[in-house]
């Protein structure tokens, strides 16, 4: 029996197979992707710096840090405001009938403001971080992202006080963030 010659570089190949190899097979050349020639609307290409800045601004840690700072400011303002309308500020437990001095009142207001600010900052950072991660995982951006991340954040906060508090926190925070999302969209 006559053995057929091996399919090597020396023997004849059909034109179709040769073309295929050049187009999608082993013999293809390195390609240049240019949307202007391929059919997209021509626009100046983005510089590396612009791309890096955009990548940082869209990243999850940056968004969490932004929410942290925003939460800190908002919490500080909220804390000072509630301290302003509270009658117990500057209360001295050792001598309840003495009117507190201005310095004591201001110090108490500051402490309360800082405490609220820290809480708001942590909650904001957690919520933003989980929302960003959920959105990256799902690949969609709709109302479910904030509900899921609200449940996770509320659950994590309430879980320290027990399982039932965790479930209630999850539901409450999820409903709250769903309401905010509905209002914003």
């Amino acid at each position: 029996p006559q053995l057929h010659p091996p399919l090597g570089p020396g023997c004849w190949q059909s034109p179709g197979l040769l073309l295929l190899q050049h187009l999608v097979g082993d013999k293809r050349q390195p390609r240049v992707w240019d949307p202007a020639t391929l059919g997209g609307i021509p626009c100046p290409p983005k510089s590396e710096e612009q791309k890096m800045v955009e990548r940082v601004m869209e990243s999850c840690p940056f968004k969490a840090a932004l929410a942290c700072v925003g939460g800190f400011v908002l919490g500080g303002a909220f804390g000072i405001f509630t301290a302003g309308i509270d009658t117990n500020v500057g209360f001295d437990p050792k001598d309840p009938y003495r009117t507190p001095t201005a310095k004591e009142v201001l110090k108490d207001m500051g402490q309360r403001g800082i405490s609220y600010a820290k809480n708001f900052a942590i909650v904001g950072a957690m919520f933003s971080c989980t929302e960003c991660m959920v959105e990256s995982y799902r690949g969609k951006s709709d109302w479910k992202n904030s509900v899921i991340s609200g449940c996770i954040t509320g659950g994590a906060i309430g879980f320290r006080a027990g399982l039932k508090a965790g479930v209630i926190g999850c539901g409450g925070f999820a409903a709250f963030s769903a309401a905010v999302d509905y209002y914003l969209r």
């Binding site: 006559q2 057929h4 040769l18 999608v24 013999k27 949307p35 391929l38 997209g40």
Partner: protein, 90 residues
């Protein structure tokens, strides 16, 4: 057909093939990843992530199909050669 002629022809066809593939890819990924609710002009993070994944998958599919197609064409060609030689000697 000599390899040089084949390469030239392939270069011409490749431009057309790439343009067609780019258009199809943008259409498909836009349909899958960007829902038609245009509340703001910027792409959100979820949509960006989805588009990245869509393009990567599309290109990977294109490459794998190309490899499979060349493999099958090679097999067909070997079969054809064997048949020709078989009929030639017979």
């Amino acid at each position: 057909m000599d390899p040089l002629r084949a390469q030239q022809l392939a270069a011409e066809l490749e431009v057309e093939m790439m343009a067609d593939m780019y258009n199809r890819m943008t259409q498909a990924c836009h349909r899958k990843c960007v829902p038609p609710f245009y509340k703001e002009s910027e792409l959100s993070k979820g949509e960006c992530v989805c588009l990245d994944r869509c393009v990567a998958k599309y290109l990977e599919v294109h490459e794998r199909m190309g490899k499979k197609l060349t493999e099958l064409s090679l097999q067909d060609e070997e079969l054809l050669k064997r048949m020709q030689q078989g009929s030639g000697t017979a």
